[in-house]
Amino acid sequence: MMRVGLFIPCYVDQFYPNAGIATYQLLKKLGVDVTYPTGQTCCGQPMANSGFEHLTNDCNRLFVDNFAEFDYIVSPSGSCVLHIKDHLHVENAEAEATSVRTKIYELVEFLVDILKVKDLKAKFPHKVGLHQSCHGQRGLFLSQMSELVAPYFSKPEQLLSQVEGLELIALSREDECCGFGGTFCVVEEAVSVKMGKDRVKDHLAHGAEYIIGADMSCLMHMEGILKREHSQVKVMHIAEILNAE
């Protein structure tokens, strides 16, 4: 049976453990042999995106050490997975790094493409707004982007359609960036916040009770704005929805 190594992004580990717990529980429910290597830390993206890719070798080494043994690596984060897929290199261990890059999956794509989940036993009777995180969408092709002239598809929606009672709202701008962007959120604070506010506004205008997505970073940013606006709307990671009973 395939062995899956669970990679939990650093900020999910520290601030949104529920997303990690839901991911773990969901995979277990689906009969997956999943382990969380306790020596893991981070994928290195915050440093790399800030121009410090050249400092990430130790971080990358640690990642490979933790995950090389597994058949698949699964993570509830599109941006971390994309980063590993695109940028994981380890000095003197390129073969191992390549192996890791080819077997890492974001949670949604793992459920749809590998486990081929067709009937989730989940229930979440609420109006939900799905946020398409850019790295997951344009980088991992979790769903079709509006820029391309190509047929529509959406892996998250495929899964959400299996959740009883869930009502997915439409949005005015289907896939505009939320403005988190890593260190961008503080380096370009004014624009970042404006982008987040606009995204939140779109969801609220269409009646969302929950804003969900596959990347907690985007949701963290939108949650910060929702709370500042004293909104009752909550954010949740899609794993928590798919795991909801």
């Binding site: 601030f15 453990p17 440093m47 130790d58 404006k194 982008m195």
Partner: protein, 459 residues
């Protein structure tokens, strides 16, 4: 000029002080993106068209020196006088020289972002010459003494009332006029006189065909043609990368250009200039100005495929909410952010960071430039060359240290959560830029790692 010393984040912050205006700017450009989408979707073979254009441009870049030689040879055979300019200064001198030879003091110009890059207008005005921009948007920013904020829509940042005010001051329309019809008619009359009296006209070049030695200029207004066909001297300025190999390739590019730019199927005029009119002198000035250097940069070479459509700006959520002037460069937006650091890495070090790397730009680019990947790569180069600020460097060293060791990481994480929980004001204050307009996340009782340790029996 104080604007040149301010960075993108600073300028963007100023831009964002007027939220209603930001909404207006953002919605206007998003609407243009939607028009582009509609237009693209009306062509089932759109993605194939993009791929073809991309490959044609890849081929051009791979053999550019030969294509340029071919173009020069054929243009000369057509009777066009060809000049070469290594940089902006030389370009300006050449243009000035041509005008001097003919004793011309006044020139009419149609749109050319290259001449913005070279600051031609400023140069000529210093020499005592008079230059009038005939493209309506360019004329407006010229009257306002501002640079254009968008490469295709020069005054997209201006409201019609502001334009009315400008025309009231400079062109005599009654105060308070804001009807676009009236304002355009005023400009038409005012510029018609210019076209009829200027002996020299300068245009840009959208495409230069190596095979035939001709060049194409696309406008909606007809101003390039009005200028060129009435003037004794027609000067066309082009960057070396404007070459396309054969005339038939125009079929691909003309189908992509305007649809990408504004959603129109084609510009009203796509004029092919091959030979000077009898009695007229036609000049082409071919400009390098850093392009050869960019060509040598393997990671960034593809930025030279750009056909200056502006689609990347219209789609960029950051551009829409910060405005072209925040990029403090002739070419703004995503494409500007990957072209400018090549010209002056110190001055433009902020631009590749003015992005969330969302990737929308790369996917609307008609020639498939990997813009967002180049933005990421420029960040590495800028830091390596030493243009990142020290505090960032130190912060990053610390981060590397923390994230390379599980024990340090777990301790730091726990400490951070404890602080957030018990001394929130240490974090929730004005020194924390996150906190300015957003609440911090709540600190959970335990991390995932701690939960796992407690709840999962593992070997």
């Amino acid at each position: 000029m104080s604007e040149t010393t301010k960075t993108h984040p600073e300028l963007a912050e100023i831009f964002n002080k007027d939220e209603e205006r930001v909404d207006w700017h953002d919605e206007t450009l998003w609407w243009i993106r939607q028009k582009r989408d509609k237009s693209a979707h009306s062509i089932p073979e759109w993605e194939l068209l993009r791929e073809t254009a991309s490959q044609i441009k890849n081929n051009v870049l791979s053999d550019l020196s030969n294509y340029l030689v071919q173009f020069e040879k054929n243009a000369k055979a057509n009777g066009i006088i060809v000049h070469w300019a290594a940089d902006a200064e030389e370009h300006n001198q050449i243009v000035h020289g041509i005008l001097q030879v003919h004793g011309i003091q006044q020139m009419v110009k149609s749109k050319s972002m290259l001449t913005e890059e070279c600051h031609l207008n400023e140069y000529l005005e210093k020499q005592g010459l008079d230059v009038i921009d005939s493209d309506l948007g360019e004329r407006i920013v010229q009257l306002a003494k501002e640079p254009p904020s968008h490469i295709v829509l020069p005054c997209i940042h201006k409201k019609k009332e502001e334009i009315g005010d400008l025309f009231h001051i400079h062109l005599g329309v009654p105060a308070g006029t804001s009807d676009p019809q009236i304002l355009t008619e005023t400009a038409r009359q005012h510029l018609r006189e210019t076209f009829l009296t200027r002996k020299a006209a300068l245009t840009g070049v959208n495409f230069a065909i190596a095979e035939t030695g001709e060049f194409v200029v696309c406008t909606n207004e007809g101003n390039a043609d009005m200028g060129a066909h009435l003037a004794d001297v027609h000067i066309a300025s082009m960057g070396i990368e404007k070459i396309i190999p054969q005339r038939k390739h125009l079929g691909v590019f003309l189908r992509l250009l305007t649809r990408s730019a504004t959603g129109q199927p084609i510009t009203t005029y796509s004029s092919h200039f091959k030979k000077p009119r009898a009695g007229q002198e036609m000049h082409v000035v071919i400009v390098d100005n850093g392009r050869t250097v960019q060509m040598g940069r393997e990671d960034f070479r593809a930025s030279l495929k750009c056909i200056r459509c502006g689609a990347c700006m219209n789609t960029c959520p950051v551009y829409r909410r910060s405005g072209g002037h925040s990029y403090h460069n002739a070419i703004s937006g995503p494409i500007g952010a990957i072209l400018a650091p090549n010209l002056d890495m110190k001055k433009y070090a902020d631009l590749p960071f003015a992005s969330t790397l969302c990737g929308s730009c790369s996917n609307v680019c008609p020639v498939k430039i990997d813009i967002h990947q180049q933005l990421y790569k420029w960040r590495q180069v800028i830091v390596k060359e030493g243009y990142a600020d020290t505090s960032k460097k130190v912060g990053m060293q610390m981060m590397t240290f923390t994230l390379s060791s599980p024990i340090v990481y777990r301790t730091a994480g726990k400490a951070g959560r404890w602080v957030l929980k018990h001394i929130p004001f240490a974090v929730n204050n004005h020194f924390n830029p996150w906190f300015k307009q957003r609440d911090m996340p709540e600190a959970p009782a335990e991390s995932f790692g701690e939960w796992y340790k407690k709840n999962v029996n593992h070997k």
